[in-house]
């Protein structure tokens, strides 16, 4: 089981809820992924509140934990207020904290992130910070009260997969006891399996599933890959070697000349 603050989950795949072809396909993707946590946002509602209401009902019907996010917030003030409004709606202390620092890369503003995390943990929030793979920032987030870290492996929605595996490896080694979730940049199940092989605890995905030709099938593929990667990590994979090593024993080999 994976313990994230006050909750325990079996699934290691956290799913975003955006960009699916339809609500029904989103629901099917969550089901086939066996996801227990989904992320959602808050946006301005038009008069009547109908759009948000329908989505709210859909999410409740999925029977999963909701991880609201502060996606799109570019300042500490915006992120903190959005987090408070999300708690009002979803009645959870969980918040996926995003403070975006750069329009093109959607790179987190790590200075604002740490400040917002400190404010929110002080107000009883359980913060899941979307951060880079920078160790010093991560330490500051821990000091600010975060008990889960969510480093990116590539820019949001880029589908590039881990662009700096060494940094992810170092990050894991540096925080052996902190639940680590790779958030952003995963494109294929093999990427997800790869980070799980490095010992990550879970993966958060959205576009890689929602943008696939068959999102529900891709959700299941990711779930299988994540399980495989986790099993492989526990089984201790062989380290790469520079030279060939015969797999068939040489002793007892027939000599014909």
């Amino acid at each position: 089981m994976l313990k994230l603050y006050d909750k325990e989950v079996r699934s290691r795949l956290l799913l975003g809820t955006a960009r699916y072809p339809s609500p029904a396909i989103l629901a099917e993707a969550v089901r086939r992924a066996k996801a227990e946590i989904v992320t959602v946002s808050l946006r301005r509602e038009t008069a009547g509140g109908k759009a948000g209401g329908a989505f709210f009902e859909l999410i409740h019907a999925l029977g999963v934990h909701v991880l609201p996010n502060t996606a799109g917030c570019h300042s500490v003030q915006e992120a903190v207020l959005t987090a408070k409004m999300a708690r009002e709606v979803f009645r959870t202390d969980w918040i996926k904290l995003e403070v975006i620092g750069h329009h093109d890369t959607l790179q987190p503003d790590v200075f604002g992130l740490v400040e917002a995390a400190r404010i929110l943990t002080g107000e009883g929030f359980q913060v899941f910070p979307y951060t880079t793979d920078d160790l010093v920032v991560a330490e500051k987030l821990i000091e600010a009260g975060c008990r889960v870290l969510m480093p990116w492996c590539a820019p949001i929605g880029s589908a590039m997969g881990p662009v700096n595996p060494m940094a992810l490896r170092t990050f894991r080694a540096h925080f052996p006891d902190v639940p680590l979730i790779v958030d952003a940049g995963i494109g294929r199940p093999s990427h997800a399996a790869g980070v799980m092989e490095l010992g990550y605890d879970a993966v958060l995905l959205n576009t890689a599933v929602a943008g696939a030709g068959d999102p529900a099938a891709m959700a299941e593929a990711f779930a299988l890959a994540i399980d495989a990667g986790r099993l492989a990590h526990a089984a201790v994979p062989l380290e790469p070697r520079d030279m060939a090593v015969p797999s068939t024993p040489v002793i007892g080999k027939a000599v014909f000349s």
Binding site: A18, L26, L42, R44, E45, A51, G52, M85, A210
Partner: protein, 65 residues
């Protein structure tokens, strides 16, 4: 009175935040409200008196990643 509601200037006859939501047909437990950058809890809306040009944000759940 004139308010800035979700970024747009609007004229609404409302003394409190609850009045305003009702006048504009906003209804539902999934709505969150803020006035001038501060959260106003659901249970406080009826007692929250609005002033001219208050900035009111009304948010609801939305797909996100």
């Amino acid at each position: 009175m004139t308010f800035i509601i979700n970024g747009e200037e609007q004229e609404v006859a409302a003394a409190t935040l609850a009045d305003l939501l009702s006048a504009l047909d906003y209804e539902g437990e999934w709505l969150a409200t803020a006035v001038n950058g501060e959260l106003v809890h659901r249970e406080d809306r009826a007692g929250f008196t609005l002033g001219a040009r208050d900035r009111i944000e009304i948010l609801s759940p939305m797909q996100g990643g």
